[in-house]
């Protein structure tokens, strides 16, 4: 080491820099106790940290929205008409500036952006997106645009998770998985409902779950909800009145609600889709003022119906407590659909969950009110209808049937509502599925020019199984106790070369004609095949297994046995690589045909990629 290294000469201008370098080097030397966090353990620990960060961020977000609203619109629940019109308009200009010039990735609700991160960008969400989404959505929702805070919260959580995962050198697969964990945390805090958030992420974002992912998601969701309840509120968003199902005939009335909700969901989807396409197709310069124009229109509606502005949770609470007439509820539902469609399609960032709950509650209450008047014997309270209505819209509009059921249970804390919810939600979901094959978020992603995997399509598509590809066991099947000469005699009449050998203990091996000839020549003709052969055991398959299992198992084998699950000696069929490929080919042809049929039957033009002005 030189003197210079041990006694560095006094520097003049470079002294602060050297001090920083020394500090940084010293800091690098600091070692935490080597706990040795392997990936799995780190993943779970990270889930908790992400949950806590997400919860804190959502708390700040909710406060930011409220402060923005009070600052811009005042603390009154019914601001002056001038304020109601001007504030969302001017704020819309600010939102447009933020979105176009500063944070271009913050458009949309946040759900598709999280899915894109998972499936396209290896879990990468820039942290600037989190900041931009926070600011733009707080301004948009606080100024009165008809949007909700839940979807952005989902994206916050995903963004925080992505940042942490990348910083902590997780594997690419883990970084991809960490985003949904964060998404669940953010959504759980926003909803104050960990179960619903978990289910939504599984149902809509990742589509499947494993023990490790589920554990991480639950840890994150619980942590974030804990933080929210610690800082903001322990109470659920809505104080739900008690609900009792008095007579089964009431279920009929909820079935009617399911039908109405299903068609209302359809109308909502069509309107949002139509407006979104139209607004995207407008000249580029209009994009700078579209949020302001939407704000103006929402403000004009808000002069007459201030309840439709913002997320609207207080109004939902009032509807649950039967404080509106059915006519007013119906009007609120209609105008909220209109206001939300305007806000969302203008490119204003914000979520659809809160408006969906709002519309569902109003619609449910309206249907309940009408049924009370015309069919009083059917029973049910208006508040009960409003509660079920929320789930109906969730199922019909967002197309998450399981989440919708559990969400209503979680919000109401009352299990007796399960039957009406199941019936109504299922009917709405089926109606929406029949008349709108492409779900909402998938439609948005295709409008944006990306093709994200559709969880619903995956659920609906049938999985190819081994039984779809296997052939009947027409070939000769040898037994392990057969002698070599008996076996040779049996196979001599056939032209086939490869034969399965069944053992008493359920194992399967194979033998070729050539091998049998060689063994006979070696004088082992009287030996049973079990002793004479030294071939390895064949992997076997069962008829109900997915076909991709067969693809992985077949390897270099010409054939594999397909055997009964309860009797391993019972050969159900045989399968070869050619059979597997033929089955995949046939299924692919069928899918293409179905797509063509649905396209020709009037599937929406919204499946065209972005940029297509028609």
């Amino acid at each position: 080491m030189t003197d210079q290294a041990t006694n560095p000469p006094p520097s003049t201008g470079a002294f602060p820099q050297k001090r920083w370098v020394r500090f940084r080097n010293r800091f690098k030397e600091i070692r935490a106790p080597r706990i040795f966090l392997h990936d799995e353990g780190l993943f779970l620990l990270l889930a908790v940290i992400i949950g806590l960060f997400s919860g804190l961020t959502v708390v700040c977000f909710e406060i930011a929205i409220d402060w923005t609203r009070i600052y811009l619109l005042g603390s009154s629940l019914a601001p002056s008409p001038l304020r109601v019109i001007l504030v969302p308009t001017i704020a819309g200009l600010g939102v447009a500036a933020l979105v176009i010039f500063v944070f271009p990735r913050v458009r949309g609700s946040g759900v598709n952006q999280t899915k894109a991160a998972v499936y396209i960008y290896d879990g990468y969400i820039p942290f600037s997106t989190v900041i931009g989404k926070f600011l733009a959505c707080a301004l948009a929702i606080g100024s009165g645009q008809s949007l909700g805070p839940e979807d952005p919260s989902l994206q916050f959580g995903a963004g925080i998770a992505s940042a942490l995962g990348r910083r902590l050198h997780l594997s690419r697969e883990k970084v991809r998985l960490i985003a949904p964990v964060g998404a669940a945390a953010g959504l759980a805090a926003a909803f104050n409902a960990p179960i619903s958030a978990t289910l939504f992420v599984i149902e809509e974002v990742i589509g499947k779950w494993s023990a490790a992912v589920l554990g991480a998601i639950i840890l994150a969701a619980v942590s974030s909800v804990m933080v929210l309840r610690l800082f903001l509120t322990e109470q659920p968003f809505f104080s739900v009145p008690p609900f009792h199902l008095i007579h089964p005939i009431e279920l009929l009335s909820y079935a009617i609600l399911g039908v109405v909700g299903g068609f209302a969901s359809l109308a909502f989807i069509k309107l949002v889709s139509y407006l979104r396409i139209r607004s995207k197709a407008m000249p580029q310069w209009t994009h700078y003022i579209q949020p302001a124009a939407a704000g103006l229109m929402v403000g004009i509606i808000g002069v007459w119906m201030p309840q439709v502005m913002g997320a609207g949770y207080d109004i939902v609470d009032q509807a649950l407590h039967d404080q509106f007439t059915w006519k007013l509820l119906a009007l609120l539902a209609v105008f909220k659909i209109l206001a939300t469609s305007l806000s969302f399609s203008s490119g204003t960032p914000g979520g659809m969950f809160a408006p969906t709950l709002f519309i569902g509650a109003m619609l449910g209450g309206a249907v309940g009110g009408v049924e009370h008047i015309f069919f009083p014997h059917l029973g049910g309270t208006v508040g009960g209808f409003a509660l079920v209505g929320m789930g109906v819209l969730f199922a019909g509009f967002l197309r998450v049937p399981m989440t919708s059921v559990f969400m209503v249970l979680e919000l109401s804390g009352n299990y007796s509502i399960i039957l009406p919810v199941l019936i109504a939600n299922m009917i709405a979901y089926l109606i929406s599925l029949k008349y709108q094959p492409v779900p909402l978020f998938d439609m948005f992603s295709r409008q944006d020019g990306t093709d994200l995997p559709s969880m619903e399509e995956q659920r609906e598509s049938s999985t190819l199984r081994v039984e779809d590809a296997m052939r009947p066991p027409a070939e000769i099947v040898l037994r392990a106790e057969d002698t070599v000469s008996d076996a040779s005699r049996r196979v001599s009449a056939t032209t086939l070369e490869f034969f399965l050998v069944s053992h008493r203990n359920g194992d399967w091996t194979s033998v070729t004609k050539e091998e049998l000839r060689r063994l006979a020549k070696e004088g082992k003709g009287t030996l049973p095949l079990a002793r004479a052969l030294s071939s390895p055991l064949l992997p076997w398959l069962h008829p109900d297994q997915p076909l991709d299992v067969a693809l992985r198992q077949i390897g270099e084998w010409p054939l594999l046995p397909v055997i009964h699950r309860a009797d391993f000696n019972n050969l159900q069929g045989i399968i070869s690589i050619a059979d597997i490929l033929a089955a995949y080919g046939a299924a692919s042809d069928e899918e293409e045909h179905s797509k063509l049929v649905s396209e020709h039957s009037g599937a929406p033009a919204n499946l065209r990629p972005e940029g297509d002005p028609t």
Binding site: R24, K28, I30, R31, A32, P33, R34, I35, F36, L37, L42, L45, L46, I49, L52, F53, L56, V59, C60, I63, D66, W67, I70, S75, S76, L77, A78, L164, R167, L168, H169, S171, R172, E173, F231, L232, T233, E234, Q235, S239, P242, D314, H321, D322, Q323
Partner: protein, 412 residues
């Protein structure tokens, strides 16, 4: 599967081309943070989390404080509006206050005020929702039950109103529970009287009577209510109790006098009413009743300890008075008594009076003391006929009417 020779990095999953030992992605020069060990980064995250916690705690504390202040501001506005008799504005203001006061201790107070404003604004359905929510939280609260009772009282739902009034009576009150319970009972009694539920009101009054403290005004209040249910005996007890507690209370004396009057105890009535009038000369009803009581005592021939001569004198005077009033009434009605009318309400009594008139003197009565009864029967007939035809009679005739109607009363 990667091409032959290449392999995948176990850490990041990237491809390591054949011939290279290290992963090109993992060994790429990165920023400062990438050089830190994973565990250190976790620790740093936890420290940042702690800092974030503190910051958020500060923010939420300020936020909650501002929310509470906003709630208070809107609540005060609501109170002002309610006092200014503007319940509609009060409802809006209280609604706003509730939005900002969630999960604060003041929330039930605001909710109660909102319910009261809604009742004032005649929005009973919404008021019921608010009160029901309060009731669900505190079913034993006296105040909440009282408001529920008032709500049902306003909508004339007697059964539910009674139920909640009783719950309020036996409910929990934060301060002065006995006073509140008593006031609730009084309010219940007033409600029942208003709804003409006399039996129920009387039952409540009897229960209330047992709990009354030694306060004259309360006894007077209860006495007045007993008068409304025609329980004059109990009313008199209450007024007498009030008199004992406050001998200078005009109301107590007047009440006692009126109660005694109704009990046909005119001597007692006269004593009490005289005291009442002395204390409050403006009490015209007491004055009138006093006058009548005096007249009754002066004119009643059936009073005890009267000599026969006096009795006869009074009987004759009563007959003459009644007959004179009868004739005046007929004349004012255009009924010509000469010649004697054969039909009409005046015919019978006039005919009987004409027959009795020659006998109505002291000498005949001395000879036939039983004639007093016949005379007084006729007096009653004439006075009743005149009252039906000509309305409330003058004081002497009213006295005669009352004497006739309550025959047998004697001076105690």
């Amino acid at each position: 599967m990667p091409p032959e020779g290449d392999r995948l990095c176990p850490r990041c999953g990237q491809l390591i081309p054949a011939g290279q030992t290290a992963c090109p992605v993992c060994t790429r020069p990165k920023g400062f943070l990438w050089s830190l060990e994973r565990e250190t980064l976790v620790l740093v995250s936890i420290v940042l989390l702690a800092v974030f916690f503190v910051v958020v705690a500060f923010i939420t504390k300020r936020y909650h404080s501002e929310q509470r202040d906003l709630g208070r501001q809107w609540y005060k506005r609501g109170e002002v509006a309610l006092k200014a008799n503007n319940p509609k504005k009060a409802v809006d203001d209280f609604h706003t206050a509730l939005v900002y006061a969630k999960e604060t201790a003041a929330f039930p107070v605001y909710q109660m005020s909102l319910a009261q404003a809604l009742v004032e604004a005649d929005r009973l359905g919404e008021a019921q929702v608010q009160l029901q929510a309060l009731w669900d939280q505190e079913p034993g609260s006296g105040k909440v039950n009282l408001e529920m009772a008032r709500l049902f009282a306003k909508s004339h739902n007697i059964g539910e109103a009674i139920r909640y009034y009783h719950s309020a009576v036996f409910g929990a009150w934060e301060s002065n529970p006995e006073t509140h319970r008593r006031n609730v009972r009084i309010e219940l009694c007033r409600f029942l009287l208003k709804e003409n539920e006399r039996n129920a009101a009387e039952s409540e009054l009897i229960a209330l009577q047992a709990e009354l403290p030694p306060q004259a005004d309360l006894h007077i209040k209860v006495g007045n209510m007993f008068m409304q249910v025609d329980d004059y005996r109990r009313a008199l007890e209450e007024f007498q109790q009030a008199v004992k507690l406050d001998p200078n209370s005009a109301g107590a004396w007047a009440g006692a006098g009126k109660a005694a009057y109704q009990l046909v105890d005119y001597a007692q009535a006269r004593r009490s009413l005289k005291k009442a009038v002395d204390l409050d000369p403006k009490d015209l009803e007491a004055a009138r009743k006093l006058e009548i009581s005096k007249l009754v005592l002066e004119l009643d021939p059936f009073q005890r300890r009267l000599s026969q001569a006096e009795r006869n004198t009074r009987a004759v005077a009563a007959f003459n008075q009644a007959f004179s009033h009868f004739k005046q009434c007929a004349q004012s009605r255009g009924v010509n008594l000469m010649p004697q009318p054969s039909t009409g309400p005046f015919a019978g009594p006039y005919s009987a009076a004409k027959k009795m008139q020659p006998k109505a003197n002291r000498q005949n009565l001395r000879r036939d003391p039983d004639l007093v009864n016949s005379l007084m029967d006729l007096v009653m007939q004439m006075e009743e006929t005149a009252q039906q035809a000509c309305g409330t009679p003058p004081a002497p005739d009213q006295a005669l009417l009352m004497i006739s109607q309550s025959r047998g009363a004697t001076e105690r």
